[in-house]
Amino acid sequence: MFEIVRIENFSPSTFLWEVRAPEIAHAARPGQFVIVRCDEKAERIPLTIADFDVVSGTVTVVIQAAGKSTFDMKAYKALDQISDVAGPLGEPSEIENFGTVVLVGGGLGVAPVFPILRALKLKGCRTISIIGFRSKSLVFWEGRFREYSDETIIVTDDGTYGEKGLVTQPLKQIITEREINRVIAIGPLVMMKAAAEVTRPAGVRTIVSVNPIMVDGTGMCGSCRVSLGGEVKFACIDGPDMDGHLVNFDELLIRQKRFSKYEKKSLELYEKKCQKK
């Protein structure tokens, strides 16, 4: 069993869990993820490690309630126990002094960008962060980003905070105006796809973190397959970081819907249950 030591709500649908898992915290590196199974009947849910602390022996994940399983997770309180946390899984992000790096986080993707940003900064990179949210009420971790970024740009879809627009707009501007050595983009698939298209003409190496549907997370099932430059890769063992210019995003977007029929059914039942209460 694993204890949730702290919960922080960022908005009605996004929240943070800090979970006690000393061995995972010890081994974790930026870019890796965990798989959480809350109880005997629950799904195995992959979540990126948004922070880890060897001293307190905890790992932090930021969760967006997207469907039945993640809505269920909202009901947990601090000091509750969950059955399983497996990790760290996946390959760590490459951390080197690359020169100037632009880090792009969209929505919930802002959380997993953070440990990469911190590690790159500590390696000596010059860091420019672009973080985007739908609206002001959804902004989180601005302070943490400012602490490790030489420049921080915040955008919101509706313009209620920072610049109005999408993360790709400032990205495009920076790429055309300056010498950038690497871009890291994490967020919804459409955002990562758009970011990769922005950097492709300039040939700036762009790393994205793909999130296909997973089961085991150990390379055993193939559910997480991704076409990378025409080759089949498994995101759980070959990724989740991948070369954004080689990822077949269109295929991923379709594969994201593999279980949509069932997800809907699950959510409807969940909502019915909530109404009864």
Partner: protein, 460 residues
């Protein structure tokens, strides 16, 4: 007057119409009377050739003799000297290719049903809570076992009995390897596996689930920071091979491992009570015809489809699956399409598979190939084309010698890898000339345990 020939006792089976609708065990096993009659068929040969056919050399003649004398505990003791999990092996071993293939009775009539007798003894032991209770004399040594499949479990058992402190690290949330995530409930009830694993815990073995070695701890860390003296790698060969044809990434196409894991490990048949959906349609095509393909087809049958097909490039005779399982599948309504290869999977407008273009190749009397092309309507395609070595451990252990295809190389005599103190067995190692089976994995686990104990002794 010639002696009256007693025919081989068959076990009761659930009738196909009922079993198609549930996951209950299909083969019911022997009653005591049936077991006694069957044991009575054994000739108690002077040179029992059945034993040579058994990969772990169970003293078959002796355990059958114990059954005849109704000394079932004696029979259990005899079996467990060589095989720790008779309830499992009695159910899943391909006896028709092993012990039963050698039995002398098989020349004139049918061989003794050694597998069903073994299962009878194993189940008696489970019902009566018999354990193989050896007094364990602890020695001051620690072993880490990677993977809790049959190879790892067998290795853990022998080491624990020799007094070694054993910790098993398992990547998934539940121990058992393929026994727990792959082989379906109706062929190997999970309760049977749980009980065998509980026995192991009773011997003092610790099982740590959710631990992917190579990720949470490297092998080097196991030997240094975590101070294990020896390590056994039994990580299995779970990486599924892709069909590699156009359309294999379409929605509705999945590996047998994914499908079976969703149903068997994650209880997908009970969705939404359990959170994991299975996501199959009504017309299911399984590509391949090994054990895994048959298990997938029979599992799919139990989820209420309209049609389940097995599409296989060769003939019935060439299929590596157990003939009994093919028969079971047929009885349950699975349809077999032989000598056929799918060449392309075709999508509907939304990226879902709607069927496959196939080529059936038959050879006529003159040796001429006759190819015919056809379209098979299928909204779900499950591929069971074999597996490859999982790369997690080899990638994080650069000194570990692997062959061209990623399997771990070991020395023939003690199963030690290229790194001193690290041993390996089961499906992650490649041994020529044998099938990848549960009993083969167990036998390598035991051989490695022997090698590990000798290594520990030599190092003192």
């Amino acid at each position: 007057m010639p002696k009256k020939v007693i025919v081989r006792q068959s076990s009761a089976h659930l009738p196909p119409e009922t079993r198609r609708t549930n996951f209950e065990e299909v083969v019911c096993g022997y009653s005591e009377a049936e077991a006694l009659t069957e044991a009575g068929r054994c000739l108690q040969c002077k040179t029992p050739v059945c034993i040579t056919g058994c990969p772990v050399k169970i003293n078959i003649k002796q355990f059958i003799n114990f059954i005849s004398k109704k000394d079932y505990k004696g029979a259990y003791k005899t079996i467990t000297e060589a095989n720790l999990f008779p309830s499992i092996c009695g159910r899943v071993c391909p006896q028709e290719r092993q012990c039963e293939a050698s039995c002398v009775l098989g020349k004139k009539q049918e061989p003794v049903a050694i597998g069903l007798l073994e299962r009878f003894v194993g189940d008696r032991a489970q019902q009566n809570d018999w354990h193989e209770t050896h007094p364990v004399e602890p020695i001051d040594k620690k072993a880490a076992i990677i993977g809790s499949g049959p190879a790892g479990l067998a290795c853990a058992y022998d080491l624990a009995k020799a007094g070694v402190t054993v910790v098993v690290f398992e990547a998934l949330h539940r121990p058992g390897g393929v026994l727990i995530y792959g082989i379906p409930e109706f062929r190997l009830p999970k309760e049977v596996v749980f009980k065998e694993i509980e026995n192991l815990r009773g011997l003092g073995v610790t099982i740590e689930t959710n631990r992917v070695i190579g990720k949470i701890h490297t092998i080097e860390e196991l030997m240094t920071r975590l101070s294990f003296d020896v390590v056994f790698i039994g990580a299995g060969a779970g990486y599924p091979k892709n069909p590699g044809i156009k359309g294999d990434s379409l929605n509705g196409v999945m590996s047998a491992n994914e499908f079976l894991t969703r149903v068997t490990l994650m209880h997908g048949a009970d969705f939404p009570k359990y959170g994991t959906p299975v996501g199959i349609g009504k017309n299911i095509a399984v590509i391949g015809c090994g054990n895994t393909a048959i298990d997938s087809a029979r599992t799919a049958m139990r989820l209420g489809p309209d049609n389940v097909y097995i599409v296989y490039r060769r003939t019935l005779e060439e299929s590596p699956a157990r003939k009994e399982e093919i028969r079971h599948a047929r009885e349950e309504g699975v349809r077999f399409i032989w000598q056929t290869v799918p060449v392309e999977l075709l999508p509907d407008d939304e990226g879902w598979v709607k069927g496959m273009d196939c080529i059936q190749r038959k050879v006529d009397e003159t040796g001429l190939h006759i190819d015919s092309k056809f379209f098979l309507y299928a909204d779900t395609v499950i591929y069971a084309l074999g597996t490859m070595a999982n790369p997690i451990i080899s990638r994080t252990t650069p000194e570990l010698k692997i062959d061209k295809t990623g399997y771990i190389e070991t020395s023939e005599d003690n199963l030690m890898t290229s790194i001193p103190g690290i041993f390996a067995g089961g499906d992650i190692t490649r041994s020529t000339g044998t099938f990848t089976t549960v009993i083969h994995a167990m036998s390598t686990g035991r051989r490695a345990a022997k090698g590990m104990l000798e290594y520990l002794k030599a190092g003192q």
